[in-house]
């Protein structure tokens, strides 16, 4: 472990970065440098085109050695981007890494004051002066390491969550896979075929579902939701609500001493259940009993009772007989598990496209959504794979596909973003009707066909060659013929420059996707952020797309933003890899920004204890006195206690009162002492 060094006089080095022209384009670097060299304690001021590059970092190391620096200031971009870089350079040069201070003169300066070079330069001087004032008072800090629990959790059992769980588990990590529905599989299990390869979704997904179920390192927790999360990277305590399923697994039955009992998926109970309700997996297009499985390929193959509709007649209990799998008085149970890292793969919902009244969804019988189309065209769907018109059961010949149904929409009713996979699945739908229905003609109404992935443009070419008709125009409205229930699609063929009215038998709306309804709750539970569009926010859009701003929590799949299956699986593997790193290292370093009790002056009043939002503080007896004690691993360094302590007995590391006062003085006094 590094030792804490003390220095007599502060000796500060200031390094100003050009960032190419990002900073130098509007800030006079030379002026800032010259100004820096006049500041108290500054012994060297230097600049470089890219301070983050190897030569730039070397400058820091050389200066520390030659000038015997006690503190380093780099005026460059945001600490979020390069603080770790320059801390490493500072450490490399032989100083404690926490003797580094950053002045942000890019994001908060040159980028926003592009056309005011003089003011920007003045502001940069202020920022440097403030940073130097703090750097002069910085101290050596030693980060703490904490052990990492050798287990991970994946929340969400769609294809992304399943892949992340399989990767983590296969890397030797105990993995809890939590799914709120009774079965894993997610949206992908509702799809028929997948673009551009046209392989059957179930054929590639069900083996994976079986793998998940059988994997020795995966504990599959279906019909389970996350209730509470406590702790921090390496040591999360996650409380789970196991919703009352009303049906015991064979293992659960064995635990209760019912040897050979538990649900074997025989389905006898379903046959006798008198309650009929719509099957949500089939989007309400086929019936389901109160005791149910969504479809034959569910994993685990265990029945579930919907207690909202169950009338508790007991017929299922009777028919289940000696297996004694059914308990009609089942209650939710709770369990807390400890994990080191967490992957969120909570997926998405479909935008309620009926809110766009002009397209008549839920008003006109023969206007359906793409997901409904998937079920109708799927051999295991409610019609056995025969696409039919809901109004009369007839086979449609002319089918209109409406792209961007709620996507790329800034009206407030709809989503401003591109939903990213609708173009491709609509091309696939066009192919499917041409393949299945002789003489069928798909009309695809589009603004742009976004076929950006590998073999996607080739797929577009193929579908056009197969006979799909492409009309470049966003659909203005759809009108139903009240007699035939045919639909008139009105728009402009913008390439022809004429309004057109295409009469079709059926319309399929490629409805936008939106963040899952539970996203806000998820966000709060795991302390992660959302981006403007409501999706969970990654730590960095390019350089850390799987991480979040909460250490130890990672993202996979559409919960982070619309993406197709290949991208979801790729991100899931990335997230699994990222989530496995702390576990494999076995310990994580915590930033040493925690509160420290100055025991000599602590009066033991305990007022700080309840103020702490992280339950990190406690009163303890020490040498016959009552003093406050900080659990460093729990403390987030928020400063609530330090700001409040009536005796000034709490010191916030790296943000000490003298350091902050020096910064404020440096700003307000304009450099005068």
């Amino acid at each position: 472990m590094a030792e804490v060094k003390k220095y007599e006089e502060p000796r500060i080095g200031v390094f100003v970065c050009h960032c190419g022209t990002n900073i130098a384009g509007s800030i006079d670097i030379k002026a800032v440098m010259e100004y820096a060299s006049t500041l108290p304690n500054v012994v060297i001021a230097d600049d470089y085109q890219y301070m983050c590059s190897t030569p730039g970092q070397n400058k820091i190391g050389e200066a520390i050695e030659e000038q015997k620096l006690t503190g380093v200031v780099v005026a460059a971009c945001s600490p979020r981007l390069h603080e770790p870089t320059f801390r490493a350079a500072t450490k490399e040069g032989g100083l404690n890494p926490f003797r580094f201070e950053m002045a942000n003169i890019r994001e908060q300066n040159s980028w926003v004051h592009m056309h005011q070079p003089e003011e920007a330069t003045d502001k940069a001087k202020d920022a440097v002066r403030i940073a130097v004032a703090k750097a002069s008072l910085l101290e050596d800090l030693i980060p703490k390491s904490v052990p990492v629990e050798r287990a991970a959790m994946v929340v969400g059992g769609g294809v992304g969550g399943m892949q992340a769980a399989l990767d983590l588990a296969s890397a030797g990590i105990k993995t809890y896979l939590v799914e709120k529905e009774p079965s894993i599989g997610g949206k992908m299990s509702q799809l028929d075929k997948t673009f551009p390869t046209l392989d059957c979704s179930q054929c590639i997904l069900t083996p994976k579902m079986v793998d998940v179920y059988r994997h020795e390192n995966i504990e599959l927790l279906t019909y389970t939701e996350v209730e509470a999360v406590e702790g921090y990277i390496g040591n999360f305590d996650v409380t789970l609500r196991k919703k009352a399923r009303g049906v015991m697994t064979p293992d659960e039955a064995t635990e209760r001493g019912i040897i050979g009992g538990g649900c074997n998926g025989c389905g006898d109970c379903e046959d006798v259940c008198p309650v009929i309700r719509p099957n949500p997996f089939e989007l309400g297009m086929s019936p389901m009993k109160a005791i149910y499985i969504y479809h034959a390929q569910v994993s685990p193959l265990i029945y579930t009772i919907d207690f909202d509709s169950c009338v508790k007649c007991g017929l299922c209990v009777d028919v289940c007989g000696d297996k004694k799998a059914i308990e009609l008085d089942a209650q939710d149970t709770f369990e807390t598990v400890k994990v080191g890292t967490i992957v969120l793969a909570t997926g998405y919902d479909i935008f309620p496209v009926e809110e766009k009244h002009e397209w008549g969804y839920k008003n006109y019988d023969n206007v359906i959504t793409s997901l409904e189309f998937e079920r109708l065209i799927c051999a295991s769907g409610p019609t056995g794979g025969h696409l039919i018109r809901p109004s009369d059961g007839a086979t449609p010949k002319k089918v209109g596909f409406v792209l961007c149904a709620g996507s790329r929409d800034n009206t407030g009713v709809g989503k401003p973003y591109c939903s990213r996979f609708c173009c491709m699945y609509s091309l696939k739908h066009a192919h499917q009707i041409i393949e299945k229905i002789p003489g069928a003609v798909p009309y695809i109404f589009y603004m742009d066909i976004r076929s950006f992935g590998k073999m996607y443009e080739e797929f577009y070419y193929r579908i056009q060659d197969e006979g799909a008709k492409f009309i470049r125009g966003r659909v203005a409205n759809i009108q139903e013929d009240p007699v035939t229930k045919n639909l008139h699609i009105n728009t402009e063929d913008t390439l022809l420059g004429r309004p057109i009215d295409v009469e079709v038998d059926m319309v399929v709306l490629a409805a936008a996707v939106q963040p899952a309804a539970e996203t806000e709750a998820t966000r709060r539970l795991f302390g992660v952020s959302c981006s403007q569009d409501g999706w969970l926010l990654e730590a960095h859009p390019k350089l850390n797309p799987c991480g979040t701003t909460t250490a130890g929590v990672y993202l996979a799949g559409v919960c982070q933003g619309p993406k197709d299956i290949p991208d979801t699986v790729a991100q899931a593997e990335g997230a699994a890899s990222a989530a496995s790193i702390p576990i494999h290292r076995g310990e994580v370093e915590l930033e040493p920004y925690f509160a420290v009790c100055i025991e000599d002056i602590c009066a033991g009043c305990g007022m700080c204890i309840n103020l702490c939002p992280y339950q990190a503080l406690a009163l303890v007896e020490k040498d016959g006195r009552t003093v406050m004690q900080v659990t460093e691993a729990k403390c987030k360094g928020c400063g609530t206690c330090g700001g409040f302590c009536p005796g000034g007995a709490i010191r916030m590391q790296h943000f000490t009162t003298p350091q902050i006062v020096a910064q404020i003085d440096a700003f307000l006094l304009g450099g005068e002492q």
Binding site: E358, C404, R408, D409, N410, T411, G412, G414, M447, R472, G473, R474, V475, A476, N477, N490, T491, E492, D493, T494, G497, R498, P499, I500
Partner: protein
């Protein structure tokens, strides 16, 4: 700039006129003027066609609201302001209601009509309505047959508007004169004969 063709044969010169779009031939400020008057960010149009597809005038004419939006953004001021189709919008606001970019193409049309009017390009009927209001306060004024009918219904022959209270006309005329509207209407209509 468009290539000038100084062909001796004027008919040929016109037939073979350079039809390319050249940036210097356009007015980049035009979109800003339209946006200021119309209070809608017309430069955000992405040419999806929802507007023309919603338009009651499009199927029975060459009027294309989408093309007007395009021309605004290309600064084709001359072409727009002299286009007789500019006056075929019924202001039904269907395009505005459905525009996915949340623009108001109808208000852009109104703005362009205002800009045309500044050049004295206004159809007669618009000016005649203005004249009628200046004269009586009403775009559609009362007449004798209607007065008789009103009386039969137990209403006063003149409604409680400027018709019954002509003393209010002065205020209306002052407002219109503030903008010189009556004078302009008279002048344009007189010139057209």
């Amino acid at each position: 700039m468009a290539v000038k063709k100084d062909y001796k044969d004027q008919t040929l010169a016109e037939r073979l006129r350079d039809r390319k779009y050249y940036v210097p031939d356009s007015n980049p400020e035009f979109v800003k003027e339209v946006e200021k008057i119309g209070q809608t960010p017309a430069h955000m149009c992405f040419q999806c066609g929802t507007c023309t597809g919603s338009c009651p005038s499009a199927p029975r004419s060459t009027y294309r609201i989408r093309l007007f939006m395009r021309k605004i953004n290309l600064g084709l001021e001359e072409e727009i302001l002299t286009d007789p189709d500019l006056w075929l919008c019924t202001t039904c606001y269907s395009c505005t209601d459905r525009c996915p970019r949340d623009l108001a193409p109808t208000d852009a049309i109104m703005a362009m009509r205002n800009l045309a009017a500044r050049r004295d390009i206004v159809p007669r009927n618009f000016l005649k309505t203005a004249q009628a209001i200046y004269a009586s306060g009403h775009g559609v004024p009362n007449n004798d047959a209607n007065r008789a009918a009103r009386v039969k219904l137990g209403l006063d022959a003149e409604p409680d508007t400027t018709h019954k209270y002509p003393e209010y006309l002065e205020g209306i005329r002052k407002i219109m004169d503030h903008y010189g509207l009556k004078e302009r209407a008279d002048k344009i209509l007189a010139e057209e004969g």
